[in-house]
C-alpha cells in the first residue's frame, strides 16, 4: 500500500461516484419496469400510455326510452342507477366528457382542478375544487383531508398534453382515495362543449 502513489481525495471521490452512476444507469437502462408513478417517465413508465390502457368510463345510455312503466316512481329510480360508475381500479381510469357531464349533473362526483390557482380563477367547471398539482405534492395532508363524501373523484386540467391531472390522480390514490378518473379532455373540451363555466376564487 505504501508503494502506491497517493491519489487526490477529490479524484477518488469523483471516481467512486462515477462508477456508481455508470453502474446505476447501465443497470436501469431498461427503465423502471413498472409500478412507478413518480417523476418524469425517464426511460420508465409512460403514465399517459398507461392511462390509455385503463378502462374508459363512458356515459350510460339512458334506458328510459325503452323502459315502459305505469309507475311514475320507476323513472327517477332508473335515472339514479344510470350513472357512470368509476371503479376502484388500483390506478386512475379514463373518463369521457359525456360521462363527466352525467356525473356533474347528478352532483355524483368531486371534480378536482389540477391546474395552477390563477388558471382556476380565470375559469373552471362549476363546483370543482382547486388543487394545483405543484402545491398538492408538497402537502400530502391536504390530499388525505379531501372530503369526497363517498363520491368518486374526477381530475382535470388544461387538456391536450397536460398531465398534471393524471399525476394528481395518482397522488390522490396514494392518499387513500380509491375511485379516481382522469378527464383528459379537460377544461378546453368542456368549454367547447358549451357546458357551464365559473370564474373567481371560490375554492
Amino acid at each position: 500500500m505504501t508503494t502506491t502513489k497517493p491519489t487526490s481525495l477529490t479524484t477518488d471521490i469523483a471516481l467512486l461516484l462515477s462508477i456508481g452512476v455508470v453502474l446505476g444507469l447501465a443497470y436501469n437502462a431498461l427503465g423502471l419496469r413498472e409500478g412507478n408513478g413518480w417523476g418524469i417517465a425517464w426511460k420508465g413508465v409512460d403514465r399517459v400510455e398507461e392511462l390509455k390502457k385503463a378502462p374508459m368510463i363512458g356515459a350510460v345510455q339512458s334506458s328510459a326510452s325503452t323502459f315502459v312503466s305505469d309507475d311514475p316512481l320507476a323513472v327517477p329510480a332508473m335515472a339514479e342507477t344510470a350513472l357512470p360508475e368509476i371503479p376502484d381500479y388500483g390506478r386512475p381510469v379514463q373518463i369521457n366528457i359525456e360521462a363527466v357531464k352525467q356525473l356533474y349533473d347528478a352532483s355524483a362526483v368531486v371534480l378536482v382542478d389540477a391546474r395552477e390557482a390563477w388558471e382556476y380563477d380565470e375559469g373552471h367547471i362549476p363546483g370543482s375544487i382547486s388543487l394545483p398539482y405543484e402545491e398538492a405534492i408538497t402537502d400530502p395532508v391536504r390530499l388525505e383531508a379531501l372530503d369526497t363524501g363517498g363520491r368518486p373523484i374526477v381530475t382535470y386540467c388544461g387538456g391536450g398534453s397536460c398531465e398534471v391531472s393524471l399525476s394528481l390522480a395518482q397522488e390522490l390514490i396514494y392518499a387513500g382515495h380509491p375511485r379516481i378518473a382522469v378527464y383528459m379532455g379537460g377544461f378546453p373540451e368542456w368549454i367547447t362543449a358549451g357546458y357551464p363555466v365559473e370564474a373567481g376564487e371560490k375554492r
Binding site: 500500500m1 502506491t4 497517493p6 491519489t7 481525495l9 477518488d12 471521490i13 471516481l15 467512486l16 461516484l17 462508477i19 456508481g20 452512476v21 453502474l23 446505476g24 444507469l25 443497470y27 436501469n28 423502471l32 419496469r33 413498472e34 409500478g35 412507478n36 408513478g37 413518480w38 417523476g39 418524469i40 425517464w42 420508465g44 405534492i137 408538497t138 400530502p140 395532508v141
Partner: protein
C-alpha cells in the same frame, strides 16, 4: 497527550469503522437495487428531491452506496469512500429530520423493502450514530 481525535484516527479504529459503515452501505444498497420503483416512491415520500430527479436518484443512489461500501470494506480508496458515505449519511439524516419535523409519517426506505421502520427520533439517532462512524472512517490516510 493524545486527544480523542488522535485515538479515533488510529488505523485500526479507522479500519473497523470503515468496514462497519461499508457493510451498512452495501446492505442498504443491495436492498434497494432490485426495486428502483419502490425506492423511487420512498424518495418521493421525503419531499426533498425535485420530482424530475426522483427516478434518477432511485436508480443511481443504491449503486453509489454499493460502490462506496464495497470500497470501504476492501480498503480501496477508502478515504474517498468514507467521505461519500459521511456526506450521504448527513443528507439522509437531514432528510429524516425534516420529514419528522413536518410530521410526515412514512417508511424511511433506508434499507429498501426490508426495513419498515418509519422516520422518527429513533431513526434520527441511528443515523447520527452512523454519521459519526462514517466520519471516523474518513480519518484514515488513504
Amino acid at each position: 497527550m493524545k486527544t480523542l481525535l488522535d485515538k479515533l484516527a488510529h488505523p485500526n479504529v479507522v479500519r473497523i469503522a470503515g468496514i462497519a459503515i461499508g457493510a451498512v452501505f452495501v446492505i442498504a444498497g443491495l436492498a434497494k437495487i432490485g426495486n428502483p420503483e419502490v425506492f423511487a416512491t420512498q424518495v418521493h415520500n421525503f419531499r426533498l428531491t425535485p420530482i424530475v430527479l426522483e427516478n434518477l436518484v432511485a436508480m443511481i443512489l443504491p449503486w453509489v452506496e454499493l460502490v462506496a461500501g464495497t470500497a470501504l470494506i476492501l480498503g480501496a480508496r477508502s478515504r474517498a469512500a468514507a467521505w461519500i458515505c459521511a456526506a450521504l449519511m448527513i443528507v439522509f439524516t437531514i432528510g429524516i429530520g425534516q420529514a419528522a419535523a413536518r410530521g410526515l409519517d412514512f417508511e424511511c426506505g433506508c434499507f429498501g423493502k426490508a426495513d419498515s421502520s418509519t422516520v422518527g427520533i429513533r431513526k434520527l439517532l441511528e443515523n447520527t450514530g452512523l454519521t459519526i462512524v462514517a466520519l471516523v472512517a474518513t480519518l484514515g490516510r488513504r
